[in-house]
Amino acid sequence: MAGLALLGLSVGAAPPAGAAGGTVSLVAYSTPKPAYSVLISAFDETAAGSGVTFTQSFGPSGTQATSVTQGLPADVVNFSLAPDMNKLVSAGLVASTWGSGPTKGIVTDSIVSFVVRPGNPKHIKTWADLVKPGVQVITPNPFSSGSAKWNLMAAYGAQLALHKTKAQALAYLTQLLQHTVAQPSSASTALQTFLGGQGDVLLDYEDDAIYAQNQNQPVSIVTPPETILIENPIAVTTKAADPTAAKAFVKFLLSTEGQTLWAEQGYRPVLPSVAARFDFPTPKKLFTIDGLGGWTSVNTAFFDPTTGKVAAIEQSLGQATSG
């Protein structure tokens, strides 16, 4: 195969340049990798995207953000939560106005869902079901995983939405973590752990669960009655090598066509016109992180490794059962 020979020569060399289309370096969190292969092919077929070549890097959201601050070439960045974008703002790599566009800098939405075994044998429908005796929960480690933070804030916020007090909501978190049998380092590892047979319910992004279902994995998805709206930010970096191509790509992702493709992959579109055409389950109560105080204050109050509330809960649970 001539292709193989070319491969041998092209390791480390730039991919063959297309027309005067430019190159875009995409750095994103790990979940949307399959979605992006569809989106990039579609972009290639548009006028603005024809001939644009891409390099892509996927990994855990936090790692990717840190890597970009360490010099990983990035023109378009897409993370799973806003604090990771803010890391880049602090490093001067993304404009602080990234969230001021019509979609507030968000490219896709999702929600925190329950992923259960086919047929839902333990009849898990609500947050209260998660802490019933004998129910085992899986959620990633909140100190390394963005997804875990969404999960726990969904749990906390759900309690508040049910008119519990803050103290009661915290008590619920304790119970939830007590029922947690595994806290893998990332969302995808958590999914692997669940698919490997551990736990009765996995807390995960809805789009990740949908992807698993599309891959014929034995899972069922349950939409909790109260849950948090996950918003995935996107931005063009200040150091983009080819800002025109990069901006065109982001524009495509936010266009009707792009959003439709996202929706087909299981991501909730941010364009209402596209969202209306798809049948995503609507939770009775949907709240946002802003409703809980915004990521900056939540990160400090809950997830600071030394002073955060979640750290305190984890510690008390660990000491209670240590030995």
């Binding site: 390394s144 995983s145 595994a182 047979g197 997830f303 649970l317």
Partner: protein
């Protein structure tokens, strides 16, 4: 031949006196060799380790101490140490047994068995971890579930460290002079007696070295452990995973601090093994 052996003692090369001619030529050619070697070592090991140490103390001793005595850090370090010691002990015994079977026994397929021992090196740690979880986790065919337990962690660590324990003991066992054992046996010593008083003392240093290497590898192991351990903070989270988490939440000095503890442990251990080796070299006179 024998006279040569008596006159020069090969094992003691580093301590042997050299002729002036030798010393001169060593200096000349030794000039660039060691420099290059030290440069390579610096770029790859010394500087990076120094960078980690510097980063760990970037907030001063106080910040370092705080990071290292975090309850979660202490829990992770304690768990790592306990499991690593366990696995060193278990694999020392297993390694001896396997080495014995390879050296002293005789059966078809022995060479194949020997090749298998090095397989853990070839497998990426994440694959090893995934496989062990699939086999010995909740969905495993053997109806045994060690996921989320210390046994699971020890199992994963045993997988990656077994080669060390076998390969240090095997050659020593192979070179063991059987005449002494046979003499003892013919004088009435039991199997156990022969084992205890003749064989074990000879291979003890090798076993210790193997155990030390296994321990050193175990304290830093990440990929293969992290899935089967379930990674529960304060319960089954190992030190390397805790370091990874800290680096994810951008607490690099904290990550470096705990790393320094692991590095220090490893260094002490390796120095100990090195001293053991040298002592054995020196006392093992012809």
């Amino acid at each position: 031949m024998t006279e040569l052996a008596l006159r020069t003692t090969p094992r003691r090369t580093p301590h042997r006196r050299r002729t002036p001619g030798e010393r001169a030529s060593a200096l000349v050619t030794g000039g660039w060799g060691p420099t290059l070697a030290v440069t390579y070592l610096s770029l790859l090991v010394i500087l990076p380790v120094a960078a980690v140490v510097t980063n760990a103390f970037s907030g001063g001793w106080h910040a370092f101490w705080l990071a290292v005595t975090q309850p979660q850090a202490l829990a992770a370090l304690k768990l790592t140490l306990v499991c690593s010691v366990l696995v060193a002990v278990v694999n020392s015994v297993a390694g001896l047994a396997i080495a014995w079977v390879l050296v002293r026994d005789d059966f078809a397929g022995q060479r194949l068995v020997s090749a298998i021992i090095d397989l853990p090196f070839a497998l990426p740690t994440i694959v090893a971890g995934l496989t062990l979880l699939t086999l010995y986790g909740p969905n495993g065919p053997f109806r045994v579930n060690v996921a989320g337990t210390r046994i699971g962690i020890v199992l994963a660590l045993a997988f990656v460290t077994l080669p060390f324990c076998v390969r240090t003991v095997q050659p020593v066992l192979a070179e063991l002079d059987k005449e002494t054992e046979e003499a003892a046996a013919s004088l009435g010593a039991s199997h156990a007696g022969v084992l205890r008083r003749i064989v074990l003392p000879s291979i003890a240093p090798a076993m210790l070295a193997g155990a030390g290497l296994a321990f050193a590898r175990a304290i830093g192991e990440f990929g293969s452990v992290v899935l089967i351990s379930s990674n529960l903070p304060f319960k089954t989270e190992v030190a390397s995973s805790y370091i990874y988490n800290l680096s994810q939440s951008n607490d690099l000095p904290g990550a470096s601090a705990v790393s320094v503890v692991l590095i220090a442990l490893a260094l002490v251990l390796l120095l100990g093994i090195g001293a053991l080796r040298r002592q054995f070299n020196v006392t093992e006179a012809a």
